[in-house]
Protein backbone atom coordinates (compact mmCIF):
# COMPACT_ATOMS: atom_id res chain seq x y z
CA UNK A 1 0.00 0.00 0.00
CA UNK A 2 2.79 2.39 0.82
CA UNK A 3 6.55 2.58 0.71
CA UNK A 4 8.06 0.16 3.17
CA UNK A 5 11.31 2.06 3.63
CA UNK A 6 9.69 5.21 4.96
CA UNK A 7 7.75 3.12 7.45
CA UNK A 8 10.86 1.45 8.78
CA UNK A 9 12.61 4.79 9.06
CA UNK A 10 9.87 6.58 10.94
CA UNK A 11 8.76 3.66 13.10
CA UNK A 12 9.84 2.51 16.52
CA UNK A 13 13.45 1.90 17.37
CA UNK A 14 13.73 -1.86 17.28
CA UNK A 15 16.61 -3.53 19.06
CA UNK A 16 19.37 -4.61 16.61
CA UNK A 17 18.68 -8.27 15.89
CA UNK A 18 14.92 -7.88 16.00
CA UNK A 19 14.88 -5.08 13.45
CA UNK A 20 13.91 -7.30 10.53
CA UNK A 21 11.18 -9.16 12.40
CA UNK A 22 9.82 -5.97 13.90
CA UNK A 23 9.50 -4.43 10.48
CA UNK A 24 7.79 -7.49 9.06
CA UNK A 25 5.40 -7.54 12.02
CA UNK A 26 4.63 -3.86 11.58
CA UNK A 27 3.87 -4.25 7.90
CA UNK A 28 1.71 -7.31 8.55
CA UNK A 29 -0.34 -5.51 11.22
CA UNK A 30 -0.70 -2.50 8.95
CA UNK A 31 -1.86 -4.72 6.11
CA UNK A 32 -4.42 -6.51 8.27
CA UNK A 33 -5.81 -3.24 9.63
CA UNK A 34 -6.06 -1.58 6.23
CA UNK A 35 -7.75 -4.62 4.72
CA UNK A 36 -10.20 -4.80 7.64
CA UNK A 37 -11.10 -1.11 7.35
CA UNK A 38 -11.40 -1.35 3.57
CA UNK A 39 -13.78 -4.31 3.71
CA UNK A 40 -15.81 -3.07 6.67
CA UNK A 41 -15.89 0.68 6.17
CA UNK A 42 -14.63 2.12 2.91
CA UNK A 43 -15.90 -0.29 0.25
CA UNK A 44 -19.47 -0.56 1.59
CA UNK A 45 -19.88 3.22 1.76
CA UNK A 46 -18.40 3.60 -1.72
CA UNK A 47 -20.82 0.93 -2.96
CA UNK A 48 -23.85 3.05 -2.00
CA UNK A 49 -22.68 5.78 -4.34
CA UNK A 50 -21.92 3.22 -7.08
CA UNK A 51 -25.37 1.68 -6.75
CA UNK A 52 -27.16 5.04 -6.60
CA UNK A 53 -25.59 6.21 -9.87
CA UNK A 54 -25.78 2.80 -11.57
CA UNK A 55 -28.48 3.99 -13.97
CA UNK A 56 -26.85 7.39 -14.48
CA UNK A 57 -27.81 10.72 -12.95
CA UNK A 58 -31.38 10.59 -14.34
CA UNK A 59 -33.01 8.24 -11.83
CA UNK A 60 -31.30 10.04 -8.94
CA UNK A 61 -32.64 13.42 -10.03
CA UNK A 62 -36.03 11.86 -10.60
CA UNK A 63 -36.02 10.37 -7.09
CA UNK A 64 -34.93 13.70 -5.61
CA UNK A 65 -37.87 15.43 -7.29
CA UNK A 66 -40.56 13.10 -5.95
CA UNK A 67 -42.97 14.62 -3.40
CA UNK A 68 -42.43 11.66 -1.04
CA UNK A 69 -38.70 12.36 -0.91
CA UNK A 70 -39.22 16.10 -0.54
CA UNK A 71 -41.66 15.76 2.33
CA UNK A 72 -39.39 13.20 4.09
CA UNK A 73 -36.40 15.49 3.68
CA UNK A 74 -38.18 18.54 5.08
CA UNK A 75 -39.65 16.55 7.95
CA UNK A 76 -36.14 15.42 8.93
CA UNK A 77 -34.93 19.03 8.73
CA UNK A 78 -37.90 20.17 10.83
CA UNK A 79 -37.25 17.53 13.52
CA UNK A 80 -33.56 18.44 13.65
CA UNK A 81 -34.20 22.18 13.81
CA UNK A 82 -36.50 21.67 16.82
CA UNK A 83 -34.49 18.96 18.57
CA UNK A 84 -31.02 20.51 18.47
CA UNK A 85 -31.85 23.80 20.30
CA UNK A 86 -33.88 21.97 22.97
CA UNK A 87 -31.10 19.42 23.56
CA UNK A 88 -28.50 22.19 23.65
CA UNK A 89 -30.22 24.63 26.02
CA UNK A 90 -31.60 21.96 28.35
CA UNK A 91 -28.33 20.04 28.07
CA UNK A 92 -26.26 23.00 29.29
CA UNK A 93 -28.72 23.67 32.13
CA UNK A 94 -28.59 20.01 33.16
CA UNK A 95 -24.79 19.86 32.88
CA UNK A 96 -24.51 22.94 35.13
CA UNK A 97 -26.86 21.34 37.67
CA UNK A 98 -24.88 18.08 37.68
CA UNK A 99 -21.41 19.62 37.78
CA UNK A 100 -21.97 22.67 39.94
CA UNK A 101 -24.78 22.04 42.36
CA UNK A 102 -25.54 19.89 45.36
CA UNK A 103 -29.14 18.78 45.63
CA UNK A 104 -30.98 15.62 46.58
CA UNK A 105 -31.41 13.26 43.62
CA UNK A 106 -28.37 14.53 41.75
CA UNK A 107 -26.87 11.03 41.46
CA UNK A 108 -30.15 9.73 40.03
CA UNK A 109 -30.17 12.60 37.53
CA UNK A 110 -26.62 11.77 36.52
CA UNK A 111 -27.49 8.10 36.02
CA UNK A 112 -30.59 8.95 33.99
CA UNK A 113 -28.46 10.95 31.56
CA UNK A 114 -26.58 7.79 30.56
CA UNK A 115 -29.68 5.64 30.24
CA UNK A 116 -30.34 6.38 26.54
CA UNK A 117 -26.93 4.79 25.78
CA UNK A 118 -28.03 1.53 27.39
CA UNK A 119 -31.41 1.45 25.69
CA UNK A 120 -32.30 0.11 22.29
CA UNK A 121 -33.84 2.84 20.10
CA UNK A 122 -36.81 0.51 19.67
CA UNK A 123 -37.28 0.38 23.44
CA UNK A 124 -37.09 4.18 23.60
CA UNK A 125 -39.82 4.39 20.98
CA UNK A 126 -41.92 1.83 22.83
CA UNK A 127 -41.63 3.65 26.17
CA UNK A 128 -42.87 6.89 24.57
CA UNK A 129 -45.63 4.97 22.85
CA UNK A 130 -46.75 3.65 26.26
CA UNK A 131 -46.88 7.15 27.79
CA UNK A 132 -48.40 9.12 24.94
CA UNK A 133 -50.29 6.42 23.01
CA UNK A 134 -54.07 6.71 22.68
CA UNK A 135 -54.58 3.92 25.27
CA UNK A 136 -52.68 5.65 28.09
CA UNK A 137 -54.18 8.22 30.48
CA UNK A 138 -51.81 10.99 29.33
CA UNK A 139 -52.27 10.15 25.66
CA UNK A 140 -56.05 9.99 26.09
CA UNK A 141 -56.09 13.34 27.87
CA UNK A 142 -53.99 14.98 25.16
CA UNK A 143 -56.10 13.51 22.37
CA UNK A 144 -59.24 14.92 24.08
CA UNK A 145 -57.54 18.29 23.74
CA UNK A 146 -56.97 17.53 20.08
CA UNK A 147 -53.21 16.96 20.44
CA UNK A 148 -51.83 13.77 18.98
CA UNK A 149 -48.28 12.79 19.93
CA UNK A 150 -47.94 9.20 18.77
CA UNK A 151 -48.18 8.64 15.00
CA UNK A 152 -47.53 12.36 14.67
CA UNK A 153 -44.59 14.74 14.47
CA UNK A 154 -44.48 15.65 18.22
CA UNK A 155 -43.84 11.99 19.07
CA UNK A 156 -41.02 11.82 16.54
CA UNK A 157 -39.47 14.94 18.06
CA UNK A 158 -39.78 13.52 21.60
CA UNK A 159 -38.14 10.27 20.46
CA UNK A 160 -35.27 12.18 18.86
CA UNK A 161 -34.76 14.32 22.00
CA UNK A 162 -34.69 11.15 24.15
CA UNK A 163 -32.06 9.53 21.93
CA UNK A 164 -29.92 12.70 21.69
CA UNK A 165 -30.23 13.76 25.32
CA UNK A 166 -26.81 12.60 26.57
CA UNK A 167 -24.57 14.17 23.90
CA UNK A 168 -24.35 17.83 25.03
CA UNK A 169 -24.47 16.92 28.72
CA UNK A 170 -21.71 14.33 28.50
CA UNK A 171 -19.47 16.71 26.55
CA UNK A 172 -20.02 19.69 28.86
CA UNK A 173 -19.91 18.09 32.34
CA UNK A 174 -16.22 16.99 32.19
CA UNK A 175 -15.17 20.44 30.93
CA UNK A 176 -17.11 22.18 33.71
CA UNK A 177 -15.35 19.97 36.26
CA UNK A 178 -11.97 20.56 34.68
CA UNK A 179 -12.20 24.36 34.62
CA UNK A 180 -13.33 24.52 38.24
CA UNK A 181 -15.10 27.45 39.80
CA UNK A 182 -12.27 29.89 40.50
CA UNK A 183 -13.06 32.25 37.64
CA UNK A 184 -16.78 32.09 38.28
CA UNK A 185 -16.20 32.90 41.94
CA UNK A 186 -13.89 35.75 41.02
CA UNK A 187 -16.52 37.21 38.69
CA UNK A 188 -19.11 36.82 41.39
CA UNK A 189 -16.89 38.51 43.97
CA UNK A 190 -16.39 41.40 41.59
CA UNK A 191 -20.13 41.91 41.55
CA UNK A 192 -21.30 40.04 38.45
CA UNK A 193 -24.71 38.44 38.76
CA UNK A 194 -25.30 34.76 37.94
CA UNK A 195 -26.50 35.52 34.41
CA UNK A 196 -23.59 37.80 33.63
CA UNK A 197 -21.13 35.28 35.09
CA UNK A 198 -22.64 32.58 32.89
CA UNK A 199 -22.51 34.60 29.66
CA UNK A 200 -19.10 36.18 30.26
CA UNK A 201 -17.17 33.46 32.11
CA UNK A 202 -18.76 30.00 31.99
CA UNK A 203 -20.11 29.89 28.44
CA UNK A 204 -16.87 31.01 26.77
CA UNK A 205 -15.04 28.27 28.68
CA UNK A 206 -17.41 25.47 27.66
CA UNK A 207 -18.26 26.66 24.16
CA UNK A 208 -16.17 24.07 22.30
CA UNK A 209 -17.70 21.24 24.27
CA UNK A 210 -21.14 22.66 23.48
CA UNK A 211 -20.24 22.90 19.78
CA UNK A 212 -19.10 19.27 19.74
CA UNK A 213 -22.24 18.17 21.54
CA UNK A 214 -24.31 20.07 18.96
CA UNK A 215 -22.48 18.32 16.11
CA UNK A 216 -23.20 14.91 17.64
CA UNK A 217 -26.82 15.84 18.36
CA UNK A 218 -27.32 17.03 14.78
CA UNK A 219 -25.86 13.83 13.34
CA UNK A 220 -28.08 11.66 15.49
CA UNK A 221 -31.22 13.76 14.81
CA UNK A 222 -30.73 13.48 11.08
CA UNK A 223 -30.06 9.76 11.23
CA UNK A 224 -32.27 8.40 14.01
CA UNK A 225 -34.35 5.52 12.79
CA UNK A 226 -35.40 2.91 15.37
CA UNK A 227 -37.05 5.17 17.94
CA UNK A 228 -38.68 7.34 15.30
CA UNK A 229 -39.94 4.32 13.32
CA UNK A 230 -41.92 3.06 16.33
CA UNK A 231 -43.74 6.32 17.08
CA UNK A 232 -44.17 7.63 13.53
CA UNK A 233 -46.86 5.27 12.27
CA UNK A 234 -45.39 5.84 8.78
CA UNK A 235 -48.22 7.97 7.47
CA UNK A 236 -47.10 8.78 3.96
CA UNK A 237 -46.45 12.44 3.33
CA UNK A 238 -46.94 13.19 7.05
CA UNK A 239 -44.69 11.19 9.39
CA UNK A 240 -42.11 9.61 7.11
CA UNK A 241 -38.67 11.01 7.85
CA UNK A 242 -35.71 10.53 5.56
CA UNK A 243 -34.45 7.38 7.31
CA UNK A 244 -37.93 5.82 7.34
CA UNK A 245 -38.23 6.82 3.67
CA UNK A 246 -35.10 4.74 2.89
CA UNK A 247 -36.65 1.65 4.44
CA UNK A 248 -40.05 2.29 2.90
CA UNK A 249 -38.56 2.72 -0.61
CA UNK A 250 -36.38 -0.37 -0.19
CA UNK A 251 -39.35 -2.49 0.86
CA UNK A 252 -41.34 -1.13 -2.10
CA UNK A 253 -38.51 -2.39 -4.39
CA UNK A 254 -37.74 1.19 -5.44
CA UNK A 255 -33.99 0.63 -5.23
CA UNK A 256 -33.08 3.93 -6.93
CA UNK A 257 -35.28 5.81 -4.46
CA UNK A 258 -33.75 4.02 -1.46
CA UNK A 259 -30.17 4.62 -2.62
CA UNK A 260 -30.84 8.24 -3.55
CA UNK A 261 -32.20 9.04 -0.08
CA UNK A 262 -29.22 7.13 1.34
CA UNK A 263 -26.64 9.21 -0.48
CA UNK A 264 -28.36 12.38 0.71
CA UNK A 265 -28.08 11.07 4.30
CA UNK A 266 -24.51 9.87 3.68
CA UNK A 267 -23.63 13.32 2.31
CA UNK A 268 -24.96 14.93 5.48
CA UNK A 269 -22.96 12.42 7.54
CA UNK A 270 -19.78 13.34 5.69
CA UNK A 271 -20.45 17.02 6.43
CA UNK A 272 -20.84 16.15 10.11
CA UNK A 273 -17.58 14.20 9.96
CA UNK A 274 -15.90 17.25 8.45
CA UNK A 275 -17.28 19.36 11.30
CA UNK A 276 -15.79 16.91 13.79
CA UNK A 277 -12.39 17.16 12.08
CA UNK A 278 -12.46 20.95 12.09
CA UNK A 279 -13.38 20.89 15.77
CA UNK A 280 -10.63 18.43 16.64
CA UNK A 281 -7.89 20.29 14.80
CA UNK A 282 -9.15 23.46 16.48
CA UNK A 283 -8.88 21.80 19.86
CA UNK A 284 -5.40 20.49 19.14
CA UNK A 285 -4.27 24.00 18.20
CA UNK A 286 -5.79 25.40 21.37
CA UNK A 287 -4.30 22.95 23.81
CA UNK A 288 -1.33 21.42 22.07
CA UNK A 289 -1.06 17.92 20.66
CA UNK A 290 -0.01 16.32 23.95
CA UNK A 291 -3.38 16.88 25.51
CA UNK A 292 -4.43 13.49 26.75
CA UNK A 293 -8.08 13.63 25.83
CA UNK A 294 -9.61 11.00 23.59
CA UNK A 295 -9.65 12.12 20.00
CA UNK A 296 -13.06 10.87 19.18
CA UNK A 297 -14.87 11.71 22.44
CA UNK A 298 -18.15 10.45 21.22
CA UNK A 299 -20.02 8.48 23.74
CA UNK A 300 -19.33 8.75 27.41
CA UNK A 301 -16.00 10.44 27.31
CA UNK A 302 -15.67 10.23 31.07
CA UNK A 303 -14.78 6.51 31.35
CA UNK A 304 -12.23 6.85 28.58
CA UNK A 305 -10.51 9.73 30.31
CA UNK A 306 -10.77 7.85 33.59
CA UNK A 307 -9.06 4.94 31.93
CA UNK A 308 -6.48 7.24 30.43
CA UNK A 309 -5.64 8.70 33.80
CA UNK A 310 -5.99 5.39 35.61
CA UNK A 311 -2.36 4.39 35.22
CA UNK A 312 -0.97 7.78 36.09
CA UNK A 313 -3.06 8.89 39.02
Amino acid sequence: MTSASSAAATGARPVEANAGTARAARLTVRGIVLLYLALLLVLPVAMVFVRAFEGGVGPVLQALGRPAFQSAFWLTVQITVITVPICTVMGVITALAIARRRFPGRALLNALVDLPFALSPVVIGLSLFLVYGANSPIGGFLSDLGISVIFAVPGMILATIFVCLPFVIREVVPVLREIGTDQEEAASTLGAGPMRTFWRVTLPAIRWAVVYGVILTTARSLGEFGAVAIVSGKLSGKTISLTTHVQERYEAFDIAGAYTASIVLAGMALLVLLGMQVYQSGRLRRRGPDDGEPQGLLLEPAPATDAASGGRA
Binding site: S6, A7, G11, V29, R30, V33, L34, Y36, L40, L41, P44, V45, V48, I93, T94, A97, R100, R101, F103, L109, N110, V113, D114, F117, A118, S120, P121, V122, V123, I124, L126, S127, F129, L130, V131, N135, F162, L165, G180, T181, E184, A219, E224, F225, I230, T243, V246, Q247, Y259, L265, M276, Q277, G292, P294, G296, L298, L299, A307, A308, G310
Partner: protein, 276 residues
Amino acid sequence: MNARPQQRPGTIGSYDGRGLLGPGLAATYLGLIVLIPIAALLWQSFGDGLEAFIAAVTTPQALAALQLTFVTSTIVVLINVVMGTLVAWVLVRDDFPGKAIINSLIDLPFALPTIVTGLTLLALYGPRSPFGINIAYSPVSIIIALLFVTLPFMVRSVQPVLLELDRDMEEAAASLGASAPTVLRRIVLPNLLPAILTGSALAFARCMGEFGSVVLISGNIPLKTEVASVYIKGLVEGDRPSAAAAVSVLLLVVSLVLLTTFDVLRRRISRHSEAA
Protein backbone atom coordinates in the same frame (compact mmCIF):
# COMPACT_ATOMS: atom_id res chain seq x y z
CA MET B 1 -21.89 4.29 34.82
CA ASN B 2 -19.70 7.25 35.47
CA ALA B 3 -21.61 8.68 38.36
CA ARG B 4 -18.57 9.75 40.31
CA PRO B 5 -19.25 13.22 41.59
CA GLN B 6 -16.02 14.99 42.37
CA GLN B 7 -16.29 16.34 45.87
CA ARG B 8 -14.66 19.71 45.91
CA PRO B 9 -15.03 21.88 48.95
CA GLY B 10 -15.91 25.37 47.88
CA THR B 11 -18.14 24.50 44.95
CA ILE B 12 -21.18 24.45 47.19
CA GLY B 13 -21.23 28.19 47.38
CA SER B 14 -20.49 28.68 43.69
CA TYR B 15 -21.87 31.62 41.78
CA ASP B 16 -25.28 30.10 41.20
CA GLY B 17 -25.36 28.18 44.47
CA ARG B 18 -28.68 29.61 45.57
CA GLY B 19 -32.07 28.78 44.23
CA LEU B 20 -33.23 25.54 42.72
CA LEU B 21 -34.19 26.84 39.28
CA GLY B 22 -31.38 25.04 37.43
CA PRO B 23 -31.75 21.67 39.16
CA GLY B 24 -35.52 22.02 38.94
CA LEU B 25 -35.41 22.55 35.18
CA ALA B 26 -32.93 19.70 34.77
CA ALA B 27 -35.07 17.34 36.83
CA THR B 28 -38.20 18.31 34.90
CA TYR B 29 -36.40 17.77 31.58
CA LEU B 30 -35.02 14.34 32.49
CA GLY B 31 -38.24 13.40 34.25
CA LEU B 32 -40.42 14.15 31.24
CA ILE B 33 -38.10 12.79 28.57
CA VAL B 34 -36.53 9.77 30.31
CA LEU B 35 -37.95 8.88 33.72
CA ILE B 36 -41.70 8.87 33.02
CA PRO B 37 -41.39 6.81 29.80
CA ILE B 38 -39.12 4.26 31.50
CA ALA B 39 -41.49 4.05 34.47
CA ALA B 40 -44.33 3.44 32.01
CA LEU B 41 -42.27 0.70 30.38
CA LEU B 42 -41.69 -1.04 33.72
CA TRP B 43 -45.33 -0.61 34.70
CA GLN B 44 -46.57 -2.05 31.41
CA SER B 45 -44.17 -5.01 31.52
CA PHE B 46 -45.65 -6.17 34.83
CA GLY B 47 -49.14 -4.88 33.95
CA ASP B 48 -50.50 -8.39 33.46
CA GLY B 49 -48.65 -9.84 36.43
CA LEU B 50 -45.38 -11.65 36.95
CA GLU B 51 -46.56 -14.81 35.24
CA ALA B 52 -47.42 -12.91 32.07
CA PHE B 53 -43.97 -11.28 32.19
CA ILE B 54 -42.25 -14.65 32.44
CA ALA B 55 -44.49 -16.12 29.73
CA ALA B 56 -43.67 -13.19 27.42
CA VAL B 57 -39.90 -13.56 27.75
CA THR B 58 -39.84 -17.36 27.54
CA THR B 59 -41.70 -17.96 24.28
CA PRO B 60 -39.44 -19.83 21.84
CA GLN B 61 -39.30 -16.79 19.56
CA ALA B 62 -38.36 -14.42 22.40
CA LEU B 63 -35.70 -16.79 23.74
CA ALA B 64 -34.25 -17.31 20.26
CA ALA B 65 -34.13 -13.55 19.65
CA LEU B 66 -32.49 -12.83 23.01
CA GLN B 67 -29.99 -15.65 22.56
CA LEU B 68 -29.09 -14.55 19.03
CA THR B 69 -28.61 -10.97 20.24
CA PHE B 70 -26.40 -12.04 23.12
CA VAL B 71 -24.28 -14.47 21.09
CA THR B 72 -23.70 -12.12 18.14
CA SER B 73 -22.92 -9.25 20.57
CA THR B 74 -20.35 -11.40 22.39
CA ILE B 75 -18.66 -12.43 19.13
CA VAL B 76 -18.60 -8.81 17.94
CA VAL B 77 -17.07 -7.57 21.20
CA LEU B 78 -14.37 -10.27 21.05
CA ILE B 79 -13.49 -9.41 17.43
CA ASN B 80 -13.46 -5.74 18.43
CA VAL B 81 -11.05 -6.39 21.28
CA VAL B 82 -8.52 -7.72 18.76
CA MET B 83 -9.25 -5.63 15.67
CA GLY B 84 -10.12 -2.38 17.47
CA THR B 85 -6.89 -2.56 19.45
CA LEU B 86 -4.89 -3.32 16.28
CA VAL B 87 -6.50 -0.36 14.47
CA ALA B 88 -5.69 1.93 17.41
CA TRP B 89 -2.15 0.56 17.45
CA VAL B 90 -1.60 1.28 13.77
CA LEU B 91 -3.10 4.78 14.12
CA VAL B 92 -0.78 5.64 17.02
CA ARG B 93 2.45 3.72 16.43
CA ASP B 94 2.62 3.29 12.68
CA ASP B 95 3.11 6.01 10.12
CA PHE B 96 2.24 6.02 6.45
CA PRO B 97 0.77 8.40 3.89
CA GLY B 98 -2.98 8.75 4.27
CA LYS B 99 -3.04 7.85 7.97
CA ALA B 100 -4.82 11.08 8.89
CA ILE B 101 -7.66 10.29 6.48
CA ILE B 102 -8.06 6.80 7.92
CA ASN B 103 -8.10 8.32 11.39
CA SER B 104 -11.02 10.57 10.40
CA LEU B 105 -12.89 7.70 8.79
CA ILE B 106 -13.04 5.84 12.12
CA ASP B 107 -15.81 8.21 13.25
CA LEU B 108 -17.88 7.57 10.12
CA PRO B 109 -20.08 4.87 11.73
CA PHE B 110 -21.13 7.44 14.36
CA ALA B 111 -22.15 9.93 11.70
CA LEU B 112 -23.77 7.57 9.21
CA PRO B 113 -27.48 6.86 9.86
CA THR B 114 -27.93 3.20 10.81
CA ILE B 115 -30.46 2.48 8.06
CA VAL B 116 -27.89 3.71 5.50
CA THR B 117 -25.33 1.40 7.12
CA GLY B 118 -27.67 -1.51 6.56
CA LEU B 119 -28.29 -0.60 2.92
CA THR B 120 -24.57 0.00 2.45
CA LEU B 121 -23.60 -3.46 3.71
CA LEU B 122 -26.39 -5.01 1.69
CA ALA B 123 -24.95 -3.39 -1.46
CA LEU B 124 -21.58 -5.00 -0.87
CA TYR B 125 -22.41 -8.27 0.86
CA GLY B 126 -25.98 -8.84 -0.36
CA PRO B 127 -27.50 -10.80 -3.25
CA ARG B 128 -25.88 -8.50 -5.84
CA SER B 129 -22.45 -8.44 -4.22
CA PRO B 130 -19.68 -7.50 -6.68
CA PHE B 131 -17.43 -10.00 -4.86
CA GLY B 132 -20.00 -12.76 -5.07
CA ILE B 133 -20.18 -12.84 -1.26
CA ASN B 134 -23.80 -13.07 -0.21
CA ILE B 135 -24.25 -13.22 3.53
CA ALA B 136 -27.61 -11.45 3.65
CA TYR B 137 -30.31 -13.07 5.80
CA SER B 138 -27.75 -15.04 7.82
CA PRO B 139 -26.43 -14.48 11.36
CA VAL B 140 -23.06 -13.52 9.84
CA SER B 141 -24.71 -10.42 8.35
CA ILE B 142 -25.75 -9.34 11.85
CA ILE B 143 -22.15 -9.67 13.03
CA ILE B 144 -20.85 -7.57 10.10
CA ALA B 145 -23.44 -4.84 10.74
CA LEU B 146 -22.60 -4.75 14.45
CA LEU B 147 -18.85 -4.65 13.72
CA PHE B 148 -19.47 -1.61 11.52
CA VAL B 149 -21.47 0.36 14.08
CA THR B 150 -19.20 -0.47 17.05
CA LEU B 151 -15.82 0.09 15.35
CA PRO B 152 -15.29 3.59 16.82
CA PHE B 153 -16.06 2.55 20.41
CA MET B 154 -12.98 0.34 20.84
CA VAL B 155 -10.63 2.40 18.66
CA ARG B 156 -11.53 5.69 20.35
CA SER B 157 -11.22 4.16 23.82
CA VAL B 158 -7.80 2.57 23.27
CA GLN B 159 -6.22 5.23 21.04
CA PRO B 160 -5.81 8.01 23.65
CA VAL B 161 -4.35 5.61 26.21
CA LEU B 162 -1.87 4.25 23.68
CA LEU B 163 -0.95 7.83 22.80
CA GLU B 164 -0.21 8.56 26.46
CA LEU B 165 1.65 5.33 27.14
CA ASP B 166 5.24 5.96 28.14
CA ARG B 167 7.56 4.52 25.49
CA ASP B 168 10.48 4.52 27.96
CA MET B 169 9.02 1.56 29.79
CA GLU B 170 8.88 -0.52 26.64
CA GLU B 171 12.35 0.52 25.58
CA ALA B 172 13.76 -0.26 29.01
CA ALA B 173 12.20 -3.73 28.91
CA ALA B 174 13.50 -4.31 25.39
CA SER B 175 17.02 -3.19 26.28
CA LEU B 176 16.97 -5.57 29.25
CA GLY B 177 16.40 -8.37 26.75
CA ALA B 178 12.62 -8.75 26.70
CA SER B 179 11.36 -9.94 23.34
CA ALA B 180 8.69 -7.98 21.48
CA PRO B 181 5.89 -10.41 22.46
CA THR B 182 6.97 -10.22 26.10
CA VAL B 183 6.91 -6.41 26.03
CA LEU B 184 3.47 -6.55 24.48
CA ARG B 185 2.14 -9.05 27.00
CA ARG B 186 3.77 -7.69 30.15
CA ILE B 187 3.78 -3.94 29.54
CA VAL B 188 1.52 -2.75 26.73
CA LEU B 189 -1.57 -4.92 27.18
CA PRO B 190 -1.90 -4.47 30.97
CA ASN B 191 -1.84 -0.71 30.44
CA LEU B 192 -4.47 -0.90 27.71
CA LEU B 193 -6.78 -3.27 29.56
CA PRO B 194 -8.96 -0.63 31.32
CA ALA B 195 -9.53 1.15 28.01
CA ILE B 196 -10.29 -2.14 26.26
CA LEU B 197 -12.89 -2.89 28.95
CA THR B 198 -14.45 0.56 28.54
CA GLY B 199 -14.65 0.08 24.79
CA SER B 200 -16.08 -3.41 25.21
CA ALA B 201 -18.81 -2.19 27.55
CA LEU B 202 -19.86 0.58 25.16
CA ALA B 203 -19.80 -1.79 22.20
CA PHE B 204 -21.77 -4.44 24.09
CA ALA B 205 -24.51 -2.02 25.10
CA ARG B 206 -24.78 -0.78 21.54
CA CYS B 207 -24.92 -4.32 20.09
CA MET B 208 -27.64 -5.48 22.47
CA GLY B 209 -29.99 -2.73 21.30
CA GLU B 210 -28.96 -2.23 17.68
CA PHE B 211 -31.83 -2.02 15.22
CA GLY B 212 -31.38 0.16 12.12
CA SER B 213 -28.23 -1.39 10.67
CA VAL B 214 -29.47 -4.94 11.24
CA VAL B 215 -33.09 -4.72 10.09
CA LEU B 216 -32.50 -4.72 6.32
CA ILE B 217 -29.61 -7.17 6.06
CA SER B 218 -30.63 -9.82 8.59
CA GLY B 219 -33.92 -10.70 6.91
CA ASN B 220 -35.57 -10.96 10.36
CA ILE B 221 -36.43 -14.64 10.05
CA PRO B 222 -38.08 -15.66 13.36
CA LEU B 223 -36.02 -18.17 15.40
CA LYS B 224 -33.07 -17.73 12.99
CA THR B 225 -32.00 -14.15 12.25
CA GLU B 226 -34.39 -12.05 14.30
CA VAL B 227 -32.59 -9.97 16.93
CA ALA B 228 -34.24 -8.74 20.14
CA SER B 229 -34.95 -5.19 18.99
CA VAL B 230 -36.61 -6.42 15.78
CA TYR B 231 -38.66 -8.91 17.80
CA ILE B 232 -39.79 -6.10 20.14
CA LYS B 233 -40.81 -3.94 17.19
CA GLY B 234 -42.84 -6.85 15.82
CA LEU B 235 -44.67 -7.20 19.14
CA VAL B 236 -45.49 -3.48 19.19
CA GLU B 237 -46.83 -3.64 15.67
CA GLY B 238 -48.78 -6.78 16.53
CA ASP B 239 -50.49 -4.79 19.29
CA ARG B 240 -48.91 -6.70 22.18
CA PRO B 241 -47.40 -3.82 24.17
CA SER B 242 -47.14 -5.77 27.46
CA ALA B 243 -45.07 -8.55 25.89
CA ALA B 244 -42.95 -5.95 24.06
CA ALA B 245 -42.37 -4.12 27.34
CA ALA B 246 -41.43 -7.35 29.14
CA VAL B 247 -38.78 -8.29 26.56
CA SER B 248 -37.55 -4.67 26.59
CA VAL B 249 -37.14 -4.68 30.36
CA LEU B 250 -35.21 -7.96 30.24
CA LEU B 251 -32.98 -6.56 27.47
CA LEU B 252 -32.37 -3.39 29.48
CA VAL B 253 -31.52 -5.36 32.63
CA VAL B 254 -29.02 -7.53 30.74
CA SER B 255 -27.39 -4.39 29.27
CA LEU B 256 -27.16 -2.67 32.65
CA VAL B 257 -25.72 -5.79 34.33
CA LEU B 258 -23.09 -6.06 31.58
CA LEU B 259 -22.20 -2.37 31.78
CA THR B 260 -21.88 -2.57 35.57
CA THR B 261 -19.75 -5.73 35.39
CA PHE B 262 -17.35 -4.16 32.90
CA ASP B 263 -17.18 -1.00 35.00
CA VAL B 264 -16.38 -2.94 38.21
CA LEU B 265 -13.69 -4.93 36.37
CA ARG B 266 -12.18 -1.77 34.94
CA ARG B 267 -12.04 -0.05 38.30
CA ARG B 268 -10.47 -3.08 39.94
CA ILE B 269 -7.78 -3.28 37.26
CA SER B 270 -7.10 0.45 37.41
CA ARG B 271 -6.68 0.23 41.16
CA HIS B 272 -4.29 -2.70 40.80
CA SER B 273 -2.08 -0.89 38.35
CA GLU B 274 -2.04 2.16 40.59
CA ALA B 275 -0.99 0.07 43.56
CA ALA B 276 1.75 -1.70 41.62
